[in-house]
């Protein structure tokens, strides 16, 4: 806390006499306040110890860990497929992206390629949850800057997306969808049409949010030029995703290192220029439209075929085989009890999640459980830069800054 002038607690700051009597500054003292850990604007449970000089933030020190669940330790003690429920709870607004990102890394470590239809399903699921994540983020920005209507529109659209995700995965929030080798369930009948209708409605509602906020004077005044970070700092801190692109850096894992079928789909990566809250907000509004494009293309192109590998060493056999044949029951037993035998080795692999590069560093020792399961949550480095973004700025800027970086306690605090 201590770069600033040391002022003994309880003493008034010594302020030099002003030139003009009418310019006399209010005698003040520095104040430390706690934001959080239980505060509606502190997404999740971050405690921010802020030192204020009047309304100006002198230092800010984020204290995290209130939502720490021992993600890595838990993962090291369960089989590879059992890790999935833990990944749901990283970024709980876009669980599918965490599920698929993890599975993608495991499959890369094993050196298997999943069927094409499964790749399309993963793209559709990921983009649905990207929409879901961005809608929530934009809605929350609106709410916390005083615009309840934008929040309600955002959430209405979000609920529609959630319903589609529920139909696909069976769970509203914690999807645990996908398995090593593909996805565990095919698209439900009639789902594609429903999704297309949903996208129409989401587009309409997102348009409403856009219209309510983007040119709203009150909104832009609080967003433009606040929470700025320079491009150098952003790179240095490890910004990725919309927050980095708001600085004008063109880095999107989907384009830089295309995985699944992203290279066969036509979409743009929006790029900002200022690196402030407003640009970060705009990136999300724009990505909503791009995700919409991706899903429509993917649903049009999705081929027929299996959704999961047909290899009983990796994937559970069909249930009739399990109940009826010894081959099936052995495979089922071994896969459930010992886990998928991922060969010994290590891999770092990443996908583009809603907030940026979701990286996985996995180490296998050849047994059915991860030896090490490092997750590079995109929110972690971004949160570490919050002091840099708000020190010297007004306290009121903290709220939009915290909103636009879209800090998710679940992924930051593991």
């Amino acid at each position: 806390m201590s770069e600033s002038k040391p002022i003994p607690a309880g003493h008034h700051a010594v302020i030099p006499a002003p030139d003009h009597e009418l310019d006399a500054e209010l005698q003040t003292k520095r104040m430390q306040i706690n934001l959080g850990p239980s505060h509606p604007a502190m997404h999740g449970t971050v405690r921010l110890k802020v030192e204020l000089e009047g309304e100006t933030i002198v230092t800010a020190d984020p204290e995290i860990g209130f939502l720490h669940r021992g993600f890595q330790k838990s993962c090291e003690n369960v089989t590879w497929n059992q890790v999935l429920p833990y990944t749901d709870r990283l970024n709980y607004l876009s669980a599918l992206m965490n599920n698929f990102g993890f599975l993608n890394a495991v499959e890369r470590l094993m050196g298997v390629e999943i069927p094409e239809r499964a790749q399309y399903i993963r793209v559709v699921g990921s983009e649905l949850h990207r929409i879901h994540d961005h809608l929530t983020c934009v809605g929350a920005i609106s709410l916390e800057l005083g615009g309840f209507a934008g929040f309600l529109y955002g959430l209405e659209a979000r609920e529609l997306v959630m319903d589609r995700v529920t139909e696909l995965t069976g769970a509203r929030l914690t999807t645990s969808f996908g398995r090593v080798g593909g996805v565990n369930r095919d698209l439900p009948p009639g789902w594609i049409e429903k999704v297309l209708k949903t996208l129409d409605k989401v587009k309409e509602l997102a348009g409403e949010v856009d219209a309510l906020l983007t040119k709203n004077r009150i909104f832009t005044d609080r967003m433009r030029g606040t929470g700025m970070i320079s491009t150098d700092d952003a790179l240095d801190f490890g910004f990725t995703g919309p927050c980095l692109r708001a600085n004008g850096v063109d880095y999107d894992v989907r384009k830089a290192k295309p995985y699944w079928v992203y290279d066969q789909l036509d979409f743009d990566v929006p790029i900002g220029s200022n690196g402030d809250n407003f640009d970060r907000y705009l990136m999300r509004i724009e990505e909503l439209k791009q995700s919409d494009r991706i899903i429509r293309q993917a649903l049009a192109k999705i081929p027929d075929g299996p959704v999961i590998l047909d290899d009983w060493r990796i994937v559970l056999p069909p249930k009739p085989e399990v109940y009826g044949t010894i081959e099936g029951v052995i495979s089922h037993f071994k896969l459930v009890m010992e886990g998928v035998p991922v060969p010994a080795g290590e891999v770092y692999d990443s996908t583009e999640a809603a907030n940026g590069e979701l990286g996985w560093y996995l180490v296998s020792d050849g047994t059915g459980r991860p030896y090490k399961c490092h997750v590079r949550a995109p929110g972690f480095p971004i949160l570490s830069a919050v002091p840099r973004m708000i020190e010297g700025r007004m306290l009121a800027d903290l709220i939009p800054t915290f909103d636009t970086i879209n800090m998710i306690g679940g992924e930051v605090e593991q």
């Binding site: 090291e76 052995i330 010994a344």
Partner: protein, 619 residues
Amino acid sequence: MSDKDKPVGSGGSRPAEGAPTTSPAAKVGSEPSNPPAPPTATGERAGHEAQPASKPPAPPAGGPPPKPAPKNPGMVTFTVNGLEVVVKPGTNMIEAAKQVGVEIPYYCYHPRLSIAANCRMCLVEASNAPKLVPACQTPCAEGVAVKTDTFKVQDQERATMEFYLLNHPVDCAICDQAGECKLQDYYMRYDAKPSRLEGQKVLKNKRKVLGPLVVLDQERCILCTRCVRFMAEIPQEPQLGVFGRGSHEVIDVFPGAELNSNYAGNTVDICPVGALLNRDFRFKARAWFLSAAPSVCTGCSRGCSTYVDFFEQDTYRYRPRENEAINKSWMCDQGRVSYKYLSQGRVKLAYIGRGADVREATRAEALKELAGKLAPLKGKVSVLASPLSSNEDLLASLAFAQEVLGAKEVFVGGRPSGAADHLLMTADKNPNRKGLEWVAAGLGLALRPFEELSKGIEGGKIKALYAIGAEVPVDAGKFAQSLQKLELLVVQAINENAITAQAHYLLPATPHTEDEGTFSNLDGITQRFRKAYPGQGESQPHWKWASELMNELGLTTRYNSAREVFRALSARVPELKSFEWDKNAPPARERGGVRPLPTGADGRPMGRREFGEPRVRGI
């Protein structure tokens, strides 16, 4: 990790020199439906074998080419998957391949049994044979290139597995072997294909009781005949045989006979599948819930090395642990079922008083009161020691008896003697009689037979008795009656019996599974055993009771572990002085700090209850 990622001479990536003799004749009929040539006794003959088949029509003059000179004199040098192996002549390929980390699968092979080569799982490609050869039966020959990862071999393994599973019942869910079953392991490793069976499986007897300890599920049996060979060769009691033909072949006992050998339990251990099951253990626990601690059997003075398979604070079974010097890979059935005293009828609390006045006490309470009683009786207390206690227990307790109680002699208790047999079981049913003799001699205490104690009590000469262990070689009930005369009877006991009922002070002691320590068997071999779980109830080891009593009586010596006891006192015992307590420790039971969790989620791979690889060859 990185060290694994590197291509450390990965097998098969580079072709071995002098790879298979691929003459057309060798290629035709590669299907190894017929077994290859009869077993060859020496490397020399194996080298000759390939000659007639692959000989080209225009041989160079002078008969077969000379045998290649051995690369390493006196040894055989050849390659497995391109890795060079040097072994003694006559070593079979399975053992040789193990040296370079290449695993050849097998069911029927067992390093301590004769070779049957009937499971066909270990067939590998050798450069000096036109067909696949069984690795268990084929001795290594100079310069041969053996390959275990070619398509031909893999195809054979897959086909073999498919045939094994053809008639195998869908039993994993109810099978005791699940989780430690070779069929499961090899299916995942070498087959992993769906069933192609059309129609019914062959039905056989699902629960044929073979004897008092063993039950057979003939449907699960793969006819590897390990059990038949074991019974014929190791205990030399050929009670099992193969009956019938073709698909209806079964393992069985001879009509009217039963599998009642004292070594029948070993057939369960060596059965690679869930066919032979232990009636004592069956349906008691799932294999993946059990942890294993390296231990020693306490059934007799042989001291067979064992694994104690336990869950939480209960032992579920003993399994033999390999020990070349004592029990090889085997143990007897009486020892196998002798684990029951570890959990049944235990003294779990300290008790003060006898008869109607008996009351429960905490350890501290009991110690305090007992110390007060013992202090004035110095030199008047007789000591009874049980050879069921470990060396550490005896060292500390006898040192206490000598220094604090002023004892000059020790009466020997212990279980009564029983029958011995021709292989492992001895007549003395106490695991540590040798240790007791050594320790007493080392400390300068005279050992007195139990009869003298009985006479002394009957005659009223002995008024106070301190018993380390409540086992006596005579009828406990009768002996207990004479104990009523005693003014003070202190008993440290594992199990309740008639003697503990007479104790003025009954202190709960632990058996060997609940603490570390050593036993010395009848041949004078000292073995370490590991702690499996903490003491049940309030019980604690004899050495700890001794140490705490010493402190209570004003001595400052304090022992915090069995290791400390051994370090401090073994110097006085010449036979134990040279035993390196730390070095001779078998690996600890499991990875640190991990307790068994449901769904096998405790971090150990299934079927590997032991730390690392199981240390029994051939399972």
